[in-house]
Symmetry: C2
Subunit: 349 residues, 2 copies
DNA sequence: GCAAGGTGTGGGAGCGCTCCCAAAAAGAGT
DNA sequence: ACTCTTTTTGGGAGCGCTCCCACACCTTGC
């Protein structure tokens, strides 16, 4: 059923080599021969066998997206679909395919299965946790091409693409400060995740920029879930001196926090202003709509894939040493109502 | 760097064939030889080259997930991540890998790229639109192994796995009817999508079961988005005789509808009761929490992949004719507050 | 003791392609 | 016309594996 190069060659009345040259767009084939071969290829609906090609070329034209720890929490927001869209778009542009590997099982098993065996020319690692470094160190020591989405605190020497969590968080705080709030608290994400750490650091730096200091009890650790946000906010509300504004390290946290505020008989933003992070669809759907920091997720994916694919092409051209690069894409403040912006109320007290 | 079978053989002091037999768990190798070979394989961290293997075996151990039309609308809810988790789990169990193909470009190009060339042993097609039949018919005529997630109205003869949209919708209506509502309307999804059609059909059948008929203007077409739901609800509210309860064909529609109700100065569920479909996280986060129909998304993916993988294994064993099967997984009513259940109010008028 | 049947083991062939080199064809220059 | 170069074409080798067949080496049973 499925034809080989040789058979196409016979049908076209030329040699294997010539057909190979044609389908690979190599030079030194007469124009009319080239056209004729293409015609035969088209009408036979021929496509070269990828396995055979991969065997000799040592290239599969497949990159992998590795997601260590496919936790439900992450999967309950649309981060990954959007990321994948970005990656996929870059792959299509470069005629690459995308393989998906959710790592749940034994790390070393997974590593062998995914990386060795040569299915993949390179991988994009969506790193969320600081302890993904096991996997990453292995990649580095094997010299396997990869790009990180996110950041590994221990490894500033590897190519990565990340959203500017630090600056995003700082923007959020400064926006709150500019509106006159002086008692600003934060509910952080888990500090085992780089996003959690960076957003906290950004919060603290924003506070400093605004000339403020962190007040007692004004930083509580959540876990990027609604439930966590709810409980964290309860603790904040039980303080003797309540915060006027809270920066939540994720929208899910913010939604939980909002419910806690309401459950305590208080209002958002009149009693407690709220800013989230991520700009998930839910952020604009809640009442009041949530002011938040948007990260360019699709662009994150697209950029990571482009860099990886570019590096792959360069290393194929013998371009030996590719210096690592760290790219940080800007985040953006999305103004809605939960931060109290535009309220007459804003500068009182 | 990367070792071959032959080199492992030399290191172990046996032949290529013996190593091959060992790593493929074939019989007729002495126990001590087998152990020794395994040991060498382990310590050299050897993994057979997949391309070479695929070339001779005509099997890549990769299946594809094909998503025709990667529209943002679909990607803004966590349907796909969960689906992928289910598929991925089944793949891991069977030592298969998962390739992801979002089809955005020219259909025939995409088909060639994805299906021919032999990267894939089979595919799972996530079919949402009725006009995906172009792709599917091609698959059928090429005899390429695949399983559909969803349903193709024109092709009842192919293996598919779907959620019971019809019964789910019927349950929703019956629940509403049981609470005493007599004026029940629906906002459908787009009727170019099978889920849209099936949920509408289920709505109508549920209405019949409850002994009711569709009242004038009580069915308006939405498009599975919040905006669409908002506008559709406005039309419903502008009717001379307003519905008491509305079945929205998706949670996003329901959320939009909820906002429209509120914008009109009315309350959910007191003035208009609401039931959604999907049970996305947003459903439990809105005020009031949304009663909805949950579909077993992860199980959908797992089942589809298992069937495909099973068929693949059977066809390898020469088990020629595999009859198509259509699997419909049950949906479930998730009671929350938007439907007015538990209100004293419920049986009035 | 020897044929008849296992059980292990090694090596050839070949999967479908690309790469390389040599041969043929076509120009270019005298 | 003839050589020298350049373009075009064809076929061999080999990528790393599996499959098959042949050959060893053991058992048995008479």
């Amino acid at each position: 059923m499925t034809l080989t190069l040789e058979e196409i060659a016979k049908l076209a009345g030329v040699s294997r080599s010539t057909v190979s040259r044609v389908i690979n767009n190599q030079p030194n084939v007469k124009e009319d021969v080239r056209d004729h071969v293409w015609q035969v290829v088209r009408e036979q609906n021929y496509h070269p066998n990828n396995a055979a090609r991969a065997l000799v070329r040592r290239r599969t034209q497949i990159i992998g997206l590795v997601i260590p720890q496919a936790i439900k929490a992450i999967f309950s927001d649309p981060y990954f679909p959007v990321l994948i869209q970005g990656i996929s778009a870059a792959c299509v542009e470069c005629h690459y395919q995308l393989m998906l590997s959710l790592i749940t099982s034994q790390m070393s098993d997974a590593y062998r299965r995914i990386i060795r065996g040569g299915h993949l020319d390179g991988v994009i690692v969506a790193s969320a946790f600081t302890d993904d470094d096991v996997f990453i160190n292995r990649l580095v020591s094997d010299g396997f091409p990869f790009v990180l989405i996110g950041r590994q605190p221990q490894r500033p020497d590897i190519t990565s693409v990340d959203a500017d969590n630090v600056h995003g968080a700082a923007m959020a705080v400064q926006h709150l400060a500019r509106q006159g709030y002086t008692r600003i608290a934060t509910i952080t994400g888990p500090l085992t995740m780089t996003a959690g750490i960076d957003r906290r650091d950004g919060f603290l730096s924003g506070l400093r920029t605004a000339g403020m200091t962190l007040q007692d009890g004004f930083m509580v650790e959540g876990d990027f879930t609604e439930q966590g946000g709810y409980e964290a906010m309860q603790r904040l509300l039980s303080l003797d001196v309540r915060p006027q504004a809270v920066f939540a390290a994720s929208d899910m946290i913010a939604v939980g926090a909002m419910k806690a505020v309401r459950a305590a008989g208080l209002r958002v933003p009149e009693d407690v202003a709220l800013v989230g992070f991520d700009d998930i669809p839910l952020a604009s759907a809640v009442e009041p709509p949530l002011t938040t920091i948007r990260q360019p997720i699709e662009q994150l994916g697209h950029t990571a894939a482009s860099i990886l694919l570019d590096n792959l092409a360069r290393s194929q051209d013998g371009d030996g040493n590719i210096p690592p690069q760290r790219i940080v894409l800007p985040t953006e403040l999305v103004l809605r109502e939960s931060c109290g912006f535009g309220m007459r109320y804003k500068n009182s007290r």
